[in-house]
Symmetry: C2
Subunit: 394 residues, 2 copies
């Protein structure tokens, strides 16, 4: 079968890693076009492609030139958050299937435009949330769908990731996060945690987010880090970071479940996505990587705690998701413990087959809209804000 | 030194346990009066007192008869939540020092009355939140006060305790929780977690809660439990539980910190108070009983996770709180791993010395008011509600 010709827009940290670890190693695709605002990134990408034994790709600094059916069969958007939707819309209008990397959006209007453009063009679109393909997330999803945890009542998640270096070295790294943290105060990166939770709760498949409210803590982590590590950078020393260190968002769902998600990226801490699922028959908690099933426990064992730590691994033989069973049988492939391979291979296979994308434009809109809605709620002192019903826009 | 004469109002689960494990074993006190609505409980308590070698106490079913300086030097209120404040006010007005067990209040007005009665009478009052005396909570508090975690930004806690048996067997156990769960939907038990957090954040000592908002999940856990365990109890089978299974409350503090607390008592799970403290130099997390200090970590170690599990114990030699150092030197005494001994012995010592109580009427009001305010917020769809400034009531 012929290889899919892939165009990549955005070759920063994420795009360049995807290219090397995920695209150049996937035998179903060939990268035929690359684009970035910076010429050195484009040249570096082209060099990597050629060194991997492929033909020199089309190179451009203007993404519009890459959106061309003669050059590519599909496009990956891995640019900065603020231009994602504009680029995706251009792809969809050109009839070129598009996979878009994660991140929050600038405004709720972008979500409406994305949905409307898709409904008008019907061009295939997938939102590339790799954490939906995490091994533990998929095992828990599989257990949920089998009813192992009973009726699901409450979920929790977070982006707990110390990004102080990445953000404060934003100028040197040419990373857009610096500007986001200087100018906005919101849940700026909700999708790693809300993606797997949305799948657990059937969001856009019989359920939906109806409202959310957010509060932000004071912003002190970045400034303290700057004073310790970059005290000679007068601009940063004097900068006021708008972004609160910890942003908490509570979400209510139509079927009555509640969700709490946390952005927690400017304090020293270990990495976690805090994935937690609670139902009427048991729960999973990522913090302790533990499964608690009523059916496995005696009456007095609800006092147990440490003994459960790490016991989720015991359930993997029985509840491994089929996607992961097949992946392991095929031989583990690289990139974020397999998540990147799985999410991109799924996209490429669906582009080829024309089947409906598993993470679609409605999911993208529902998950990404949390960013501007949280911003609005924080500005309004934590007031609840309605979440649009993207599947039924007027 | 003469023994303190103690009166106990309320001899249910909590009161009878305190009597046996904490009061009859404390050489500084003698229980001279006991009261409950149920005669068998009063008789049982009196029997226990006499069997422990003490004189027969004064016995009554009417608590007003116990509020008498001739009978007692101080009073412990461990009755049902809904009558706590009424009883405390009666004690304070009689000039009898009073220790009040924890629980939410029925209305914000009760908090105002409590504070105003104290300000008028100046009778010593202590709120008996034993979790403020937990060993780990006190170690973390000690670390916070020494600046080990830097500037504190965010705290988390919860009452994660499977109470399905206690609630649904409320009639047999004569437990007031059943009625609370049938009729109210709120954060009904905030103080176990908010107490230690309030101490970490200097609440009422230069900081205060300014507003909160709450959401409740659907209520399905209790009903499913009833159907499994009490399907022959027609009344319970047909009952609608008002209380949502999981109630989340976000709190904003005057100095800019945020707090999230969770009530989680009607789904199968392990016990936890979820105590988490995050600052600019590190954090403590109860779920994994781990301490993460930037100063102990290399640059790339923020990806660590499991290796930290349980490492908090390593910090105990250096950061054990003096209260606990002394307690262990004196020989560990019974009741909730020492917490009950410590909170009650502190109260008795302060009654004797006349020194200001460490957990006072303002703390009680600020912590307990979360119950009616969360109820109000839930009814208003999660709208933020102002928390009164109890130290400056007009």
């Amino acid at each position: 079968m012929e290889k899919l010709k892939v165009g990549v827009i955005g070759l920063g940290q994420r795009g360049s890693m995807l290219l090397k670890d995920t695209f150049l190693t996937n035998s179903n695709v060939v990268v035929t076009a690359v684009c970035d605002l910076y010429e050195d990134r484009v040249e570096e990408a082209a060099k990597n492609i050629v060194e991997a034994g492929f033909e020199m790709p089309f190179k451009t600094l203007r993404y519009e030139e890459l959106v061309d059916k003669n050059k590519v069969d599909c496009i990956i958007v891995s640019a900065s958050w603020d231009v994602h939707i504009e680029m995706v819309i251009k792809c969809l209008e050109a009839g070129i299937p598009c996979g878009c990397e994660v991140g929050g959006v600038e405004s709720i209007e972008e979500c409406f435009e994305l949905v409307k453009t898709y409904e008008r063009t019907k061009t295939p679109f997938m939102f590339m949330e790799n954490c939906c393909y995490g091994r533990r997330e998929m095992m828990v999803l599989n257990m949920v769908k089998q009813g192992i945890f009973g009726e699901i009542v409450h979920c929790k998640g977070g982006y707990h990731h110390d990004l102080r270096h990445e953000v404060t070295y934003g100028k040197e790294l040419r990373h857009y996060r610096l500007n986001e943290y200087l100018t906005r105060n919101c849940e700026n990166y909700p999708t790693h945690e809300i993606g797997p939770i949305a799948q657990v709760l059937d969001i856009n498949r019989g359920n939906r987010f109806v409202s959310l409210s957010s509060i932000a803590s004071k912003s002190v982590g970045m400034h303290e880090y700057v004073m310790a590590k970059k005290a000679d950078d007068k601009e940063l020393v004097n900068a006021e970071f708008a972004q609160g260190d910890v942003v908490t968002t509570m979400i209510k769902c139509e079927r009555g479940e509640t969700i709490v998600i946390t952005l927690d990226t400017s304090l020293p801490r270990f990495y976690s996505r805090g994935f937690t699922v609670q139902g009427t028959k048991g729960m999973y908690e990522e913090a302790t990587d533990s499964v608690y099933l009523e059916s496995d426990m005696g009456d007095s064992e609800h006092w147990v705690w440490k003994p459960n730590w790490g016991n989720a691994e015991k359930y993997i033989d029985k509840y491994e998701h089929n996607v992961w069973r097949k992946y392991i049988e095929d031989g583990v492939q690289a990139g974020h413990d397999g998540m990147d391979y799985l999410v991109y291979n799924t996209f490429f296979e669906h582009v080829k087959s024309g089947e409906p994308m598993p993470i679609d434009v409605y999911d993208a809109a529902a998950w990404m809209c949390i960013t501007p809605l949280s911003e609005k709620s924080i500005k309004a002192g934590g007031a609840p804000v309605e979440v649009p019903d993207f599947k039924n826009l007027k």
